[in-house]
């Protein structure tokens, strides 16, 4: 079993260990300084910590990686949130003239939370998740990742497991970080298809022409729909569920569908629905897309626009611990997306345990690494470099490194450009 048993009561003992020997400070700092292209980018970044007993502190900021490490090791936060890069050091915001302290930049972020799907999943509700409904996250990631890259031209996307019931996306491109609140909200609305709250029955309505974005998203949904909706969620197999679906089709179609009530096989039922939709498409004046609307209502990603809108919005940090589950918020490698298992994500108790009993394979890799670095750093540093590497956290930090390498190429270009400009003077 990959996960050690996690007990929230142990958190006060585990956190100091985590922050002293496991948290990847070097990579974290490398990320948030963005190559040093902009002065004080790291120093003006707001962090917020939730400490023991739910004490919440905002406007934390740090002058260097060292200071960040020391403070975090001193405070041992239960939760860490990342905010915006401000015009001044956040921890000095009270000394700044009122009105001058402004949030300037931040990554464009998205938060997909499983509770927002409660009306369309039958296996779990609220904070629970299971392999059956996790597919919704897979679908969400595929759709949003494609759109953010192909439609909006973003390249540096970091997908992170939130630790309990959802995923976050951090869009780190320079253009994304500079977006205004209005632009962020426009992007979020472009990506939103599910409209309506408790009082709305039909949450997706498609009109002609169907936008290329919707077509592409449908392709993803169609790929997962048979297994996820027809089999795992069995949406056509249970009576209350069938009622809900019938509520989403036009009245005349509803009558025709009742004729097929006797059909037990969900795939066949779905094929009936699709056939009816196609028939209607050709005969009705305006396009009828109810079969697409059903698929989207059950599978399409549900974002909280408010999270994405604000330049100063605080979002849980990658590598933060989730206090209720103990799981680390790890970056996700999309190459293995279909195999991602939220229940296999290491917990803080597991990796703390692994510190003393390193994983077998890691020993080999460790000896290779140290040979080269032995002469360059002193032994304490060496120990630090190796520590997370002998735990299950290693592969996630490695992936994070790759992500940062990808961005570094663009930083280099920027720095060269800047130094060129200076030379001209």
């Amino acid at each position: 079993m990959p996960s050690s048993d996690y007990d929230p009561a142990c958190l006060p003992d585990l956190l100091p260990l985590y922050y002293r020997r496991l948290f990847p400070f070097a990579q974290y700092y490398r990320w948030l300084s963005y190559g040093g292209v902009q002065k004080n980018y790291f120093q003006n970044r707001e962090f917020s910590f939730t400490l023991k007993d739910d004490i919440y502190v905002r406007y934390q900021s740090f002058n260097s990686q060292n200071e960040l490490e020391k403070e975090m090791q001193k405070m041992n936060p239960y939760k860490i949130d990342i905010g915006a890069v401000y015009s001044h050091r956040p921890n000095q915001h009270n000394t700044v003239k009122s009105g001058s302290f402004q949030a300037l930049e931040k990554e464009l972020v998205f938060d997909i939370d499983m509770t927002d799907y409660d009306d369309v999943r039958s296996c779990c509700s609220a904070a629970d998740i299971c392999p059956k409904c996790w597919t919704l996250m897979t679908i969400a990631i595929r759709i949003l990742d494609r759109a953010l890259r192909q439609d909006f031209g973003f390249q540096h996307l970091l997908w992170v497991y939130s630790g309990r019931r959802g995923v976050h996306c951090w869009v780190c491109d320079e253009a994304a970080r500079k977006l205004s609140a209005a632009a962020r909200s426009a992007v979020a609305e472009y990506l939103s298809l599910i409209k309506g709250g408790e009082e709305t029955v039909k949450k997706v309505v498609l009109t002609d022409p169907i936008h290329p974005f919707i077509r592409e998203s449908l392709r993803v949904v169609e790929h997962y729909f048979p297994q996820y909706a027809l089999k795992d969620q069995d949406i056509l197999g249970r009576e209350e569920s069938v009622e809900k679906i019938l509520a989403l089709v036009p009245e005349d179609v509803r009558k025709e569908l009742q004729l097929f009530q006797n059909e037990r096989n969900p795939e066949k039922q779905w094929r009936h629905i699709k056939a009816l939709a196609e028939k209607k498409q050709t005969t009705a004046k305006k396009g009828q897309h109810f079969e697409k609307e059903i698929m989207l209502q059950y599978c399409y990603p549900r974002l909280d626009v408010n999270v994405s809108k604000g330049v100063n919005h605080l979002l849980k940090s990658p590598f933060s611990v989730h206090p209720k589950t103990g799981r680390i918020s790890v970056p996700m490698d999309l190459k293995d997306l279909d195999k991602f298992d939220p229940f296999a994500v290491p917990t803080i108790s597991l990796i703390c345990e692994e510190l003393d009993r390193p994983k077998a394979e890691e020993d080999e890799a460790k000896s290779e690494d140290t040979k080269g670095k032995e002469n360059e750093k002193d032994s304490a540093e060496k120990r630090k470099i190796r520590d997370y590497k002998r735990t299950s956290l290693a592969k996630y930090v490695r992936y994070f490194d790759q992500f940062l390498d990808g961005m570094a190429r663009s930083w280099k270009g920027e720095l060269l450009r800047k130094s060129d400009l200076q030379k001209e003077f």
Partner: protein, 502 residues
């Protein structure tokens, strides 16, 4: 230095500046005007913007009725609306815009309102221009975007056809598509009315107005921020300050931020008040709170501020929410940690200590639409018509009444629908007020049900903002002693030049 020492610019810029029917208001006016002209121009423009606001809520924007009514108002107020209008009207347009900037730059809310109405007005007027005038405008204002090649168009044909409606395959060949960075076409991106590829939006010529509007909005926003910084100088003049204050307050009308009747409502009364005097949106929120012992953030804000507006004190509010949340999944401890802060924040006791004002109908209808698990918003706007019907029926509204309401909803007249709901539930033929705020609904309801003298007086004071802003405007005009128009104009001119330098 602001005063004195500046020479009056003596050439006549009127002919150049006013050659164009429409402008971005980039250059402030550089002339002397009399104080009376200053005030009348400002008041007229304010009336115009208020009309723009009201029409925008009551009618579908830019469809026939909207356009006709707006044109009538522009004519009545003597502003320019056609290409053939002379420089006099354009000058009034120019000057009045800049005066209102002074009044509306001070707070976030005022700025947002001003920008919204100016953008809507601009959109209307831009659409009235002829095609060649539009192009001329674009070029004169440096909006050069590249068009895409015929090859690229062919390659993207399917996608372009499917993203911009009202464009047929044949037309596609002739039309020039512009490739614009998506940040410059936010309105089109937001509503998914444009094809996006790698960060660029592919815009057909008809939609170029949206781009222009974006530009206009951005420029105006920046200008207002600059204006705000120079404001202390303006306020130091005794004649300008009262006028500007009146101008900015007449938009807000009654905002229910000053709590009257604090403590006059007891918590026990709330359930029955919810049924009798709450507008549907708040009744719905109250019901959801009682049913689920919880409300999400959007609902807590909308309902919490409303309760503050009807007179709940902070202590009462804390008790009210606490009692309900404890019945649910939240224990007392968690409530104090997580939710109490938010409630105190609403009353201005935390954070930046802003005393938040209860949401107006406009705000409830237009911002923060509800999603799964939410109960806030305007039921006439955000609820499924079927569910709305059922709800109205369950509240004993007659079938014919329900139909009238649904008709209004279909026509997107949400506030009128709510007003009809008021009339039906209070058994009045014609409500004498024009509904624009949930707290106003409450007060009118209490008044109709024979509330006490206090409440009645309250209703009287808020009748005034509903009157013609003309009356208000001229009342304001009469206030300051008016004799040193020369000096005043000098100050205004100096200020404007100052802004220009900034």
């Amino acid at each position: 230095m602001l005063f004195g020492g500046r020479k009056k610019v003596d050439h006549n810029p009127k002919t150049d500046l006013y050659a164009q029917p429409l402008q971005f208001y980039g250059q402030p006016p550089l002339e002397n005007i009399s104080l009376s002209e200053f005030e009348s121009f400002a008041v007229d423009r304010l009336k115009l913007l208020k009309t723009v606001e009201n029409l925008g809520v009551s009618y579908v924007k830019h469809f026939e009725q909207y356009s006709k009514k707006l044109e009538a108002e522009i004519k009545a107020l003597n502003f320019s609306y056609r290409a053939v209008d002379g420089p006099e009207k354009r000058r009034k347009d120019h000057i009045s815009h800049f005066i209102l900037r002074l009044a509306y730059c001070q707070t976030e809310d005022l700025r947002r309102w001003f920008i919204q109405q100016e953008v809507d007005l601009f959109r209307y007027r831009f659409n009235q221009l002829e095609c060649n005038q539009k192009l001329e405008f674009l070029h004169k204002n440096n909006l050069q975007y590249d068009t895409i090649s015929a090859e690229e168009k062919k390659h993207l044909k399917e996608k372009l056809l499917n993203s911009s409606y009202a464009i047929s395959g044949a037309k596609l060949e002739e039309l020039d598509f512009y490739k614009v960075p998506f940040q410059d076409a936010l309105d089109l991106v937001r509503t998914r009315k444009v094809y996006l590829k790698e960060g660029y939006a592919y815009i057909p010529p008809n939609d170029i107005v949206t781009i222009v509007l974006n530009d206009f909005r951005t420029r105006l926003s920046k200008a207002l921020a600059l204006t705000a910084r120079s404001l202390p100088a303006v306020h130091s003049d005794e004649r300008l300050q009262p006028l500007l204050n009146h101008l900015s307050h007449s938009y807000l009308g009654q905002d229910y931020s000053v709590q009257k009747n604090v403590g006059k409502i007891s918590l026990e009364q709330i359930d029955s008040l919810a049924g009798k005097s709450f507008p549907l949106c708040m009744r719905q929120l109250h019901q959801a709170l009682r049913d689920n012992h919880h409300l999400r953030h959007g609902g807590r804000m909308q309902y919490g501020l409303f309760l503050k507006g009807i007179g709940l004190s902070l202590e009462q509010a804390l008790q009210f929410w606490r009692m309900e949340f404890i019945r649910g999944k939240v224990d007392a401890d968690k409530f104090d940690k997580a939710y109490a802060y938010g409630i105190r924040h609403m009353f201005g006791k935390e954070g930046k200590r802003a005393d938040y004002t209860p949401y107006s109908c406009m705000k409830v209808i237009l911002s923060n639409p509800p999603s799964q698990g939410d109960y806030h918003g305007c039921p006439f706007r955000h609820s499924d018509p079927e569910l709305l019907k059922q709800k109205l029926q369950s509240y004993k509204v007659s079938p014919s009444g329900v139909n009238q309401i649904l008709e209004l909803v279909k026509g997107m007249h949400y506030q009128l629908a709510c007003q009809k709901y008021f009339e039906l539930t209070h058994n009045v033929e014609d409500s004498t007020f024009s509904l624009s705020h949930p707290n106003q609904y409450f007060i009118e309801s209490q008044k109709a049900l024979g509330g006490g003298k206090d409440v009645k007086r309250e209703a009287d004071t808020l009748q005034r903002p509903q009157e013609n802003s003309a009356a208000r405007g001229s009342a304001a005009a009469r206030e300051p002693a008016v004799n040193e128009s020369q000096h005043l104009a000098e100050i205004t001119k100096n200020l404007e030049t100052d802004f220009q330098d900034a």
